[in-house]
Symmetry: C2
């Protein structure tokens, strides 16, 4: 049995979902892969719980659910006030997992890689701005740097592009990568105006209180940037043309529908050119997805068109990508 | 530059397509992966051309096109009368590639693995009858045994199941895995009877002269068997329930259409249960594929439903799968 020490950064919804999967499927992973995971640290914004012998995830989840923060857990565990940078240096771990929203996380990703630790992330900005630097450092240290959950949650579009289709040259990717905008556009199709559709999405927890990342196309832009990096060559989000859905009118949506089409926020990725914008797509197109789905049509020289479609959001669904990467990293270490 | 010696078995349509890709994309592979491929032998039914210094693929393709068999190539090369078994033992190669239709190829797959050679195959029966034995031997010798092109041509459903979704438990796969039957059923939808639709498929080169493998569901059954082996556990084709499309009547097809459905040969794969049979699927279902496509809907515990859809046949498309495996094997060696 191989024991892999994990250091978890972020204990919000995704972090909790990852912990739940590790807890509930531990036996399955031991039997199928011969791997045993030991979470040696968990960090949230209140502090870092660190226990080299391994943290009881069941307890950690209970504390977090009941007190809202890990730092409440002082009767059993020491809570440290490390910065992430200090934490990745101090804490002995094989793999660092970033499920935070820290925009500057690339710094401590780099620090972790330099310490010879593998890094797994569902956090997009580090890749959307520092892909080349991060993947090069991982290659130099020969440690895994994996990020399946950054695009289309656990739907393995990254694995498909990075580790399959190796003989093909990708020519173009068209994709719907943001579920919140699809929800809003779908509601506008049945008569709501943009503001009401957005409010409904917020009430249902589909859109965040500050919805700008989704609405302005930034989230889809990050993901499209990452797809370009993987399929072609490193670029940064600054080079991407992004137009969100804030200016889409109910009239435009209805006119599309009358033509047998539907408006979706579509990312188009070609060599050296990444665009995200609202587009009319035929109802029979694979890009005419429902609210919970993402889809990517990948065009290559040998295979022609390949469609991958699946969950694009959700907690279990995102945990699927993170945990798949954890196992993938473990099998390589 | 890493040099990888390839021993190619089968120089029919797929073998030629693979050779063409290796020839035309050699520079791309060298630059992208730092790998140089040297084909040291090519076998067709007429004999084995073997040249340790590497065969000129351009010449080999010309000979095959003009004379129909490799044994005509006696002015430049020695042609050997090895059995495949002898060939995999005699010929020094890193990877053996099986693009034949040899039903008994599992014997020389095993022999190659025992010699410490990697094996890549687009040939289905070895896997449909001897999966456990072959993959176990490959694991024991720590050499790659790869078979992406056996199911859905180059569409990477095998890579997706074998190397991704590692944290998920697959619950069920529904798939359309045979393009010829889809073509025939589509033609019956527009009024042809089964025999005329089959004749048309044969005239177009979509169905073979002996079409029984497709029509009786055997081809789809082999593929479904392989999917079960990968997603769940080893089974053999003998355990699979298969009903082909030979008894589907134009009337049934028309009645389905009147209900907004279409008949497709559907493979259903659950733990311990593999079925292939004609089924009515709603027109809006991802399984209502067109003639050139295959599709698989994979249901898992964490991710829910994932769809992968793409080419299911074709020469370049099959070569895509074989060549991706060649590169994958090379990166591991």
């Amino acid at each position: 049995m191989k024991e892999i020490k994990l250091s978890l950064f972020g204990f919000g919804n995704v972090g909790k979902a990852v912990s739940r999967v590790l807890l509930e499927k531990g036996v399955f992973f031991r039997e199928k892969y011969g791997v045993e995971f030991k979470v040696v640290s968990i960090a949230d914004t209140s502090g870092v719980v660190w226990l080299p012998e391994g943290i009881d995830l069941r307890e950690a989840l209970i504390i977090r659910e009941n007190f809202g923060k890990l730092s409440a857990w002082t009767n059993d565990y020491e809570v440290y006030n490390f910065t992430p940078d200090e934490a990745v240096r101090e804490i002995d771990a094989d793999v660092v997992i970033d499920v935070t929203n820290d925009r500057n996380a690339w710094r401590w990703h780099l620090a972790a890689l330099r310490e010879g630790k593998g890094v797994i992330t569902s956090n997009k900005p580090p890749l959307a701005f520092h892909y080349a630097e991060l993947t090069k450092e991982a290659e130099r240290r020969d440690v895994p740097y994996l990020f399946e959950a950054t695009v289309m949650a656990g739907t393995p579009v990254i694995g498909l592009l990075r580790e399959n289709l190796l003989g093909d040259a990708v020519e173009r990717i068209d994709a719907v990568l943001n579920a919140t905008t699809t929800f809003i556009l779908s509601r506008m199709e049945v008569g709501l105006n943009f503001e009401d559709a957005l409010r409904e999405a917020q009430a249902l927890g589909i859109a965040e209180r500050d919805p700008s990342g989704d609405i302005l196309g930034i989230d889809a832009g990050y993901k499209a940037t990452i797809l370009h990096c993987v399929a072609f060559s490193p670029v940064t989000f600054d080079e991407v043309r992004v137009r969100g859905i804030a200016e889409v009118t109910p009239d435009e949506v209805r006119r599309a529908r009358a033509k047998g089409k539907t408006v979706r926020l579509v990312a188009t990725v070609e060599r050296g050119e990444v665009t995200v914008e609202p587009k009319e797509v035929p109802l029979e197109s694979p890009l005419a997805v429902g609210s919970h789905e993402n889809a990517a049509v990948i065009k290559t020289d040998l295979l022609g068109e390949l469609l991958i479609k699946g969950a694009g959001a959700g907690l279990k669904e995102t945990a699927s990508g993170v945990v798949s990467d954890i196992i993938k990293a473990s099998l390589r270490l």
